[in-house]
């Protein structure tokens, strides 16, 4: 395998160019999507909601979902907070004891149909599409079941059919896309007895929401939730109590999710398309690196060994030299001492010759 680094980078570059020219990578590219004109949406006004669960019933009916655990006229399910599930595209939660609310407050949960959906930007097979009607639709035929969408969604909406072993799908509210294109109302909106849900063009709904706030000073929190949250959503919310008090996140910011992740995610199609090339390249490069490293290592070891040997030799020589020097010095000293002793003995003998003789005698 011999691929030069230059060659590999060349391939990668051309692949990147191809990907940006391609059509499907829009959601994660650095293009800024400002939204389709005249998209539809729904305004939920919780000051009009009476918590009757009719919307859940309507949703269940039009989407032909399995029968609920508890009948829709059983309102006791609202005692505990619920979230969307595989067979429940929408749920209404009740919040009792919210200060200054004067009674229970309701919150409807379903897919918000973001203008720039996080789920779509996280999906590498483009199973999600933001349609010109406003609905974010899901194509089960391409879905690989990675469930990245479920992690990406800031509203925790997509659910998964865990109970289906062979054909599990991701499920969520479709904004009744099939009905909208036929000119019908979404199931939940159609059945709502108090028009707590209003269907219309998103821009009209924003105007309507503002008008309601203005007409009833003190009734609403002066904010239309969904107008700017996560870059804006097709579902909009009016509330009489702070949104945070009814479990709606106020920390999401105004930037669309794809804008936050586009840097990292724009590389995804390139990498997934060029997977074999990339792997081969990485393999070749790392292989070459290894080889170079090995040679360099051997050289280094040799050099080190030579150095060590030279050092040792020099040290030995020096030691030997020193020893020689010391020895010579010692000999010289011994000789000197011996000569001195001999001279001393000679002069003593000259001074007392008789004694020596006497003693000898």
């Amino acid at each position: 395998m011999s691929i030069s680094r230059r060659k590999f980078l060349g391939w990668l570059g051309s692949a990147g160019l191809g990907a940006t020219l391609g059509k499907n990578a829009d959601a994660a590219s650095n293009k800024h999507f400002t939204g389709y004109p005249d998209i539809s949406g729904v305004l939920f006004d919780n000051t009009l909601c009476i918590g009757c669960r009719k919307c859940e019933e309507g949703c269940n009916k039009v989407n032909e979902l399995p029968a609920p655990d508890k009948a829709f006229d059983d309102l006791s399910v609202m005692e505990a907070p619920r979230r969307t599930r595989a067979g429940e595209f929408t749920v209404v939660n009740r919040y009792s004891g919210v200060p200054d609310a004067g009674g229970p407050v309701y919150r409807k949960i379903q897919c918000n149909h973001c203008l720039e959906p996080a789920c779509a930007s996280a999906c590498f097979v483009s199973a999600f599409t933001k349609t010109p009607t406003g609905a974010v639709t899901y194509d089960e035929s391409v879905c690989v079941g990675c469930r990245y969408c479920m992690i990406a969604c800031p509203f925790e909406i997509p659910a998964y059919e865990y109970d289906k072993a062979l054909t599990p799908r991701v499920t969520k509210c479709t904004l009744c896309h099939p009905r909208i294109i036929k000119g019908l109302l979404p199931g939940c909106v159609e059945i709502c007895p108090t028009e707590a849900l209003t269907f219309g063009k998103r821009k009209d709904l924003i105007r309507l929401a503002r008008e309601r706030i203005q007409q009833h000073p003190g009734r609403y929190v002066d904010h239309v939730y969904g107008e700017t949250e996560m870059g804006g959503t097709s579902w909009l919310y009016l509330s009489g109590t702070p949104f945070q008090k009814i479990g709606m996140r106020e920390d999401l910011g105004n930037l669309p999710a794809p804008l936050l992740t586009k840097g990292a995610l724009s590389a995804v199609p390139i990498i997934s398309g060029m997977w074999p090339v990339l792997l081969t390249g990485i393999y070749a490069i790392s292989k070459r690196k290894e080889k170079i490293a090995e040679t360099e290592k051997a050289q280094a070891i040799n050099a080190a060994r030579e150095q060590a040997e030279a050092d040792a030799k020099a040290k030995l020589d020096a030691a030997l030299k020193q020893a020689q020097k010391d020895k010579e010095k010692e000999i010289e000293l011994q000789v000197k001492r011996a000569l001195e002793e001999a001279a001393k003995a000679q002069s003593e003998a000259a001074a007392k010759p008789e004694t020596k003789e006497e003693s000898d005698g």
Partner: protein, 521 residues
Amino acid sequence: MAAIAFLAAAILSFGVPGVQGVQQELDSMEVMRADLVMIDTMKTFGRLERPPVVFLHDKHTEALLQQKQDCNACHPADEKGRQSHKFKRIEDSDPKAVMDLYHEGCITCHTETATAGRKSGPVTCGACHLKKPTVISDSQPMGMDKSLHYRHTKTLENKCEKCHHVYNEQKKTLEYLKGQEGSCRYCHGETKVENRIAAQQAFHQACIGCHQQRLAEKKVSGPNECSRCHSLEDQKLIEVVKDVPRMEVNQPNVVFVKRLQENEPPPTPEENTLMQQVPFDHKAHEEFNNTCRVCHHANLKACVSCHTLKGDEKGGRVQLEQSMHQSNAGQSCIGCHNNQKVQPECAGCHENIYQKLSGDTNASACLACHMEPMPVTDGSTQQPAELAALMLESRKKPPTPYPADKIPEIVDIGVLTNQFQKARMPHRKIVQALEKKIQGNQLAVAYHGDSGALCQGCHHNSVIAEKPPKCGSCHGQPFVERQPVRPGLIAAYHQQCIGCHTRMGIEKPAATDCTACHEKK
């Protein structure tokens, strides 16, 4: 055996900190007190070196009382004999002296008290200068309402000069002028201005000063403790006199609301574009409110003396029109009337009536106040006050409802007949129930004078008539693009019925009980 030992060890290691945690929580629990004074006097000299001192005033008053000492133990009197409400001084001199005063005063007394074997306060720095105070103040503002004022005038035998005074610029003294009495707050504001002390100081000096004096003289007296005026519980115990005689300050009974200042010439008939004069029942409004300050927020003069037709500096450039109609100002007519609409019996209808931002319901509502002048019948010239009284009298009679046989008894609503039987609305019963609610309320009577005005609660946004349009005349299909504000018919019914019931506190039938209104098919 080993298992038991392990269990014991586990309990010891986990259980004990748990108990400590609870104890800490108990310690850190905040106590609400009305007599909390945070001593942060040193703030006036610069940044505080230590946290402010948590001082419970009533505790100290009580302790001193047990030692047979009174307020003079801590609060000296000034040269005029008025008690200072500062601790052991009249004025804040230099920082060192003030600090020493507190340290010496507090610590010496605490030490002496402890030596004498009585319960005493702390003597260490951190015990007074608490980083995390465990006491929080729930002190309520105290005010003198009509009842309390009456009790004072009665006890003080109508000696208004005991409290009321004005400042004489020439003589540089306080003096009492009969007929010039007003609210203390007209002069004494939030902070001291020139020689006018702040309201808080003025009240404490005047009220407590007098209470103490009377107490010393063994006369009937008011409280001296913080909590007796400022705690919510004790405020409820203050005796309330029901029928308070009227406070007399030369105010009119009935008057046409003045539109011109004292010396302003009236406009010539050709140039007169003023609205019809508004007759105003001053006396009745005195009864509705607890203090004069509700309307007379700056002085007791006529509104126009500050709020001129064109707006003037002395009235904060608020024109007379604005001062009467500003819908979100409590001192204005409409502002105050609007505040009444939140009562359940009003909110049922009024919450749902389309409101323009100006606050007016519709142009015909102007005529409720700006009444057509009464035709002069006998040719005699009447005094304006008499005329105003006559006009007001004509407004007091309750609205004459449409005769019962003209009001449909039952209205069948059949918009959901695909699921339910027709809803049978007891139309006449509802009208009569609403009529009853109006009769008990003078304000409501004045504004619902027209027989059909009441019907507007449901038959809104249409002309007043004996046979107003039906709901279905305007409400039809939902979500009509050009009429986004108008709900569809089904929602219109539900919003109207459920909304009104909720706001009026009518619990039955429950909003989610479908078959309570339209029976099962």
